[in-house]
């Protein structure tokens, strides 16, 4: 089949009822704000443009490239949509995509759809946009800065979506956080690379063919609000991860601690920066897992930043 489901679609039953309802409430508020913001941005063109772009993301998710061992890289699209159209428009686009996938194709449940849309649509869009804008500001104009910012934004957007999914599964008691967090982070560190490569490819094409389109996102409303959401998001993720790391019953945590090593080895990710996503000098696997994720993120961010800087200065010097 041409259309493969993306990995983050949670089916019904995997999240507890309170968690599901919180997701719906958050989504309703977000979509209400998004509708008001894009109405101002696009006027009466809002409906046809958003609708066709949502159809575009849906179709773009089907474009893939073979990686290895039967797996393929493909696009989630939240970051790309946000980079092109701005964060609030991207929220509407991704909401439509995930809603249709759940309603027609049963990719993702209905009661849990609130979180599915937030994870794959809202969090990806805001992370992608925030990181992209931040790096653009740090690196300045130019092609390399655009591509580096796009790459990191896309990679991080998938990571944040995956970590949020892991936290929801953990809070719902479906999967212990100490297992879900490192496992999701590990798998999606790889999947995010596919996202980054495709996003960069798309931006390269658009930069060459229609540079003017890339300024829609720059001038979109809600740049400031997106920054605040981005900062809040980062804090919320860290707080959520640590508070739930501290709260569950110690028995359960001890078991997790015993088993994580085994699970880490069972997954055996070759792409892993740190063995089993734990740092050798910290004994608690959960805390070190979280630290490893944060550290890995910073390293990738820094590497892309440096690369773009070096390339940029070489071009300036020549």
């Amino acid at each position: 089949m041409l259309f493969k489901p993306v990995q983050l679609h949670i089916p019904d039953g995997f999240l507890s009822t309170p968690v599901s309802i919180i997701g719906w409430v958050l989504l309703v508020v977000t979509v209400a704000v998004a509708l008001r913001q894009t109405r101002g941005q696009l006027g009466e063109r809002q409906i046809p443009l958003m609708g066709v772009l949502a159809a575009f993301i849906f179709a773009a998710q089907a474009i893939n490239f073979p990686v290895a061992g039967g797996t393929s890289g493909h696009l989630l699209g939240g970051a790309l949509a946000a980079i092109i159209m701005g964060p609030w428009a991207a929220v509407l686009i991704m909401t439509s995509v995930v809603a249709i996938q759940g309603l027609i194709f049963q990719d993702g449940g209905l009661l849990v759809m609130g979180w599915n849309i937030l994870n794959m649509g809202v969090l990806t869009a805001f992370t992608g946009y925030f990181v992209y804008q931040l790096m653009r500001r740090l690196l300045g104009e130019g092609r390399n800065s655009l591509l580096a910012a796009g790459a990191v934004g896309a990679w991080l957007s998938v990571m944040v979506g995956a970590l949020a999914t892991a936290i929801q599964l953990g809070v719902s008691g479906t999967s212990p956080l100490g297992v879900a967090l490192p496992a999701m982070a590990g798998v999606h560190a790889l999947i995010g690379l596919g996202e980054a490569v495709i996003t960069v490819g798309a931006l390269t094409f658009l930069y060459a063919a229609r540079r003017d389109l890339l300024s829609i996102g720059e001038t979109a409303p809600g740049k400031a609000s997106a920054s605040w959401v981005g900062v809040g998001l980062g804090i919320a993720l860290v707080v959520a991860a640590f508070s739930f790391a501290a709260s569950p019953d110690p028995d359960g945590l001890e078991r997790v601690a015993e088993d994580t090593g085994f699970l880490g080895r069972a997954l055996e990710p070759v792409y892993n920066l740190f063995p089993d996503y734990t740092l050798p000098f910290i004994s608690d696997p959960l805390v070190s897992g979280i630290l490893a994720v944060i550290l890995g993120t910073l390293i990738v961010f820094g590497a892309a930043f440096l690369l773009a800087r070096v390339q940029g200065s070489r071009k300036a010097g020549a």
Binding site: S20, F56, E258, F262
Partner: protein, 264 residues
């Protein structure tokens, strides 16, 4: 493969389930999933009752009793997300594999999650296959989903087949130019190169989407579009719809009762 027919999964029909008001179907589906999700772990009797309920709906839809059953295994891959429960939930020992203890409580939790999601997806599937998508959208709007959002989704639905076709053409063009060999993994250059080409296709598709939306907008303006989509007068709730919903809610309440009374 000239034209993509992404399966509008809708199956035409005139069964009682097809004729039900789409609002009733959406609310009924959500209530069913809610009832399943709320059940405490290990309420096998209640889950069995819910499963029989979904079989009953499938039977009434005249698509065949096992129609949804056969297509409901799509949720299984996600079970991986919960597969560690038997090892991590403390409790009585069920079995021991090497150094790892499989607990009874953990296994019950794991299987409950699995069965809940499995019965839920069957009912969600029946909703999708017995309701034409425009009816579903109309019902969403009636259920207070914001009008512009529903309009956007209806536009997306209208054009996703068109753009999926475009995506397919782009991929065919790529295949035609990349000397596809026996082993698809060795086609073209490095992984990075393949990824960049795929990204180029996505960029190309972006442009096509923008240009198409421009043409659509102009065509709409030419036909008197003022920023709002108009719809024809919708059907009203019949007596049959009310009885069906009341019966369904009673059934779900009974199933929940069984679940909580016989909770482990």
């Amino acid at each position: 493969m000239l034209h993509i027919d992404l399966a509008d999964h809708y199956q035409r029909g005139t069964s009682p389930i097809h004729r039900l008001d789409p609002r009733v179907k959406i609310v009924g589906t959500l209530l069913f999933i809610l009832a399943a999700t709320l059940l405490p772990p290990g309420s096998w009797a209640a889950l069995a009752v819910l499963f029989l309920g979904s079989l009953g709906v499938a039977w009434q839809s005249r698509l065949g009793v096992t129609y949804a059953l056969k297509r409901s295994f799509v949720v299984l891959p996600f079970a991986l997300a919960a597969v560690t429960l038997p090892f991590t939930v403390p409790g009585a020992t069920l079995a021991q594999v090497g150094a790892f203890v499989i607990s009874v409580e953990g296994t019950v939790r794991f299987l409950s999650v699995l069965v809940k999601s499995w019965v839920s997806v069957q009912v969600a599937l029946l909703l999708a296959v017995t309701t034409a998508f425009p009816d579903l959208l109309w019902a969403l709007r009636e259920l207070r989903v914001p009008r512009p959002l529903v309009s956007i989704i209806s536009f997306m639905y209208r054009y996703m087949f068109v753009l999926a076709d475009e995506a397919l053409r782009l991929q065919r063009a790529r295949a035609a130019r990349s000397a596809q060999g026996q082993d698809p993994r060795r086609t073209g250059g490095s992984v990075l190169w393949r990824g960049r080409v795929a990204g180029g296709l996505v960029g190309n598709l972006t442009l096509r989407a923008f240009e198409r939306s421009e043409r659509i907008y102009n065509a709409m303006l030419a036909r008197g579009f003022r920023g709002e989509l108009k719809t024809l007068t919708p059907p009203t709730l019949t007596q049959f719809d009310r009885y069906a919903l009341a019966g369904w809610v009673t059934f779900l309440a009974m199933a929940s009762l069984i679940g909580f009374v016989f909770a482990r």
